[in-house]
């Protein structure tokens, strides 16, 4: 008879076998046996957060910056419900998370016991899959499967709910390789035919106005996909744009890169999307912030869509050629096919798409990310630009909260590597950036980690500063403080006759004093002239810092595609605002 272990021991045995080094969590009654077992597993470090949502976002930051799954451990009832926002966030942005929740003992399930909730019921729509463990002998099997489901195919969060009696009970442990592969339909390399690759290459060959539209799928596919994407661009000379989540897959400073596309994307990227004759979507999902008005989305183009998730195909936009599979396998096939069929492609193609590049240059000359700088007040764009200039020599990891500051960070901070940019795109979770920065710093101990934040967002998870201080994580919280929920205010200005209903925060805390209260460092910058010196000061501190950057209160984020409009109807700045949004547009977000 094999050695029997308790459920709690099995949990750690699986974590060890899966190569987990860090878990983010918060103890409580229904997970105490697992917490009791923690002391026997020195290889696994537990990071105590201050709220379960923080554990989830920290695990997300950890996962996105390291390429490994993030693991969180929380208790039943409120522990589980507090994790729901982070799970949903991870689900929307395809982040691999394994969430372990405690549950009331099996015999109490369904009796409205203390701290009981229907965890698997609540989290069913925000996980790839979840399990309620009713038999300790199935625990190792389920947990190994959980890691497999989370990390393969289109990654995402999973949840394993373990009743307290199962944590105490003794059962058999099965190693990962002893478990029959369940075929979760997730290990898709490329499900199509060589024929399809040939068709893609034909379209690439024919195109005179091509564009690559790349997304988070490239980064999820791993570093090789990034290398291949760069090779494809140098091979074809095609212009390339990226979604919010794809930033870093291609160097932000490269001349071929048109900047981010979508609602706050650049003029050249959006116009190129609208006018192109061939769109190659690599690992993006035609999100509504990207497409603008669907009926007028890129009307004249043939569309190729590369995605690992079959259900992404034709969900929002009908495409002409779907290549379902892992980005790196498909890019590799396309590249080798181009090389084989058209050895001199780059040269022969340069002339062919020359007109297109000229057109793009014209759009570029609008300089759509420009803004009016000031000598008296810090413009938020200027703050991000200075932060970039003063940190770009280092290998920097940036997280953000959600709102105007997030868009300014995406526009003005240039990334040249993948896994350096962690932001909540799909769900748009205010309060994501600070705990995410904690997870990033845990995964990358020696690196510079900055959360570009807004003062409203960061207050939602501010308690995690305490976590940063406890584990001596020198994260930098760079707050663009305009005292408004800036993006809400901007929409109210554009759509609701400047009725700034509840978007101004009075009685904000003094962030410098708040930093001191947490036991970290507070720095404030009020004037553009002192900004560089204060940022340098922040960078020289090897402790967590809250940087209160007092910026223009009423600056708006441009350029933008107003609601209900197409890619070629962008607003470039304040002068464009009048009469740009129709009555119909006003009821759209």
């Amino acid at each position: 008879m094999a050695n029997l272990m308790t459920g709690a021991e099995i949990v750690f045995k699986v974590l060890e076998e899966q190569g987990v080094n860090h878990i983010f969590g918060y103890p409580g009654g229904a997970v105490l046996p697992i917490y009791d077992e923690l002391k026997n597993h020195k290889k696994i470090k537990h990071i105590l957060v201050r709220h379960e949502q923080g554990a989830g976002h920290a695990a997300e930051g950890y996962a996105r910056s390291s390429g490994k799954p993030g693991v969180m451990l929380v208790t039943s009832g409120p522990g589980a419900t507090n994790a729901v926002t982070a799970l949903t966030d991870a689900y929307m942005d395809s982040v691999p998370l394994v969430c372990i929740t405690g549950q009331v003992p099996t015999h109490l399930i369904g009796t409205d016991a203390f701290q009981e909730c229907d965890t698997t019921g609540i989290t069913r729509p925000c996980t790839k899959h979840n399990w309620l463990v009713k038999d300790v002998n199935k625990l190792s099997l389920i947990m190994h499967q959980a890691f497999e489901v989370a990390t393969t195919g289109r990654p995402g969060p999973v949840l394993v709910d373990i009743p307290k009696d199962i944590q105490f009970k003794k059962g058999k442990y099965l190693r990962a390789k002893e478990i029959k592969k369940n075929n979760f339909k997730t290990n898709i390399k490329f499900s199509g035919q060589d024929d399809d690759i040939e068709k893609a290459v034909e379209l690439i060959k024919k195109s005179i106005k091509p564009i690559l539209y790349t997304g988070g799928g490239v980064i999820n596919s791993g570093p090789k996909a990034t290398t291949l994407l760069r090779e494809l661009v140098s091979l074809t000379e095609f212009p390339i744009t990226s979604t919010l989540q794809g930033l870093g897959a291609f160097p932000g400073n490269d001349n071929k890169f048109l900047g981010m596309l979508g609602m706050h994307g650049t003029y050249e990227a959006n116009n190129a999307m609208h006018d192109c004759d061939l769109m190659i979507n690599v690992g993006a999902r035609f999100d509504d912030r990207i497409t603008g008005k669907l009926d007028e989305f890129s009307p004249k183009s043939k569309k190729i869509h590369i995605d690992i998730d079959p259900s992404s195909i034709n969900k929002n936009v009908k495409v002409d050629l779907a290549l379902v599979g892992d980005v790196k396998f498909i890019l590799e096939k396309i590249i080798s096919k181009i090389k084989q069929k058209h050895p001199d492609f780059a040269n022969s193609n340069k002339k062919k798409i020359g007109h297109w590049w000229n057109q793009i240059k014209t759009w570029r000359s609008k300089n759509s990310l420009s803004y009016k700088n000031s000598n008296d007040i810090i413009k938020p764009q200027f703050a991000v630009q200075r932060l970039y200039e003063l940190t770009k020599a280092q290998d920097v990891y940036i997280t953000t909260e959600v709102g105007q500051h997030q868009m300014w960070a995406a526009q003005h901070y240039k990334f040249d590597k993948p896994n350096r940019w962690m932001t909540s795109g799909g769900l748009g979770t205010m309060g994501y950036g600070l705990p995410a920065a904690i997870g990033v710093q845990i995964a990358n101990p020696e690196k510079l980690v900055i959360d570009i934040a807004g003062e409203a967002s960061v207050l939602m998870t501010m308690q995690e500063m305490s976590t940063a201080v406890q584990y001596k994580l020198p994260i930098k919280i760079f707050i663009l403080n305009n005292q408004y929920m800036g993006m809400v205010r901007q929409w109210q200005e554009l759509l609701h006759e400047k009725n700034y209903s509840e978007s101004y925060t009075s009685a904000l805390p003094d962030f410098v004093k708040l930093a001191e209260a947490y036991g970290c460092v507070g720095i404030r910058a009020n004037k553009p002239q002192e900004l560089d010196q204060k940022i340098t000061e922040m960078l020289s501190v090897n402790r967590p810092v809250i940087f209160d950057c007092v910026v223009d209160k009423v600056e708006n984020c441009y350029p933008m595609i107003p609601s209900g409009k197409a890619h070629n109807q962008m607003l470039l700045g304040d002068k464009d605002e009048e009469d740009s949004i129709s009555e119909e547009g006003k009821i759209l977000v």
Binding site: G121, R124, K185, S311, N314
Partner: protein, 179 residues
Amino acid sequence: MIKSAYSFSTKKDKIENHIIVVWVNNESGALARVIGLFSGRGYNIDSLAVAEVDQKKNISRITISTSGTLQVLQQIKLQLEKLVPVHKVADFPKNKKTILREMALLKVVSSKASLEKAKKVCKNYKYVILDKTEKSFVFEISALKKEVDDLIKKLQPLGLASVSRTGIVAMTRGYETFK
């Protein structure tokens, strides 16, 4: 006034009725996942039938009658295929190639005269009487959904007291099975 908060579509695609058949592990929560997907993504369920069909392999067959545009129907199939306990999903066309049936139990409680009339109405359908008293009878009918609908309509004035329907089940014709 358009209600949508994000975008609106000016195109109105044709709505079609389809039968979606899902083979799924017979485990707790599996049905909830399938149904939750429909409600969560705003798909329609016109009827639903589910039971275990393979005890050895522990597989249930879920038959869902649904309606939507072709794009939505394709999404339903692809989204269902992603669920971990789902083995395979078939989209059966509602045409000659597919056998569709629905079973119903109907109870009529009425006067003798009405009961006789009710029986006459039933004669046009294949039916089996399962229970009889002087004031009532319970019978079983297996037919197309529309036929069951029609029969119910006809029996309503004759004392139809209770109806229980299984929802549509489906099978393809010929020797081939869906792989």
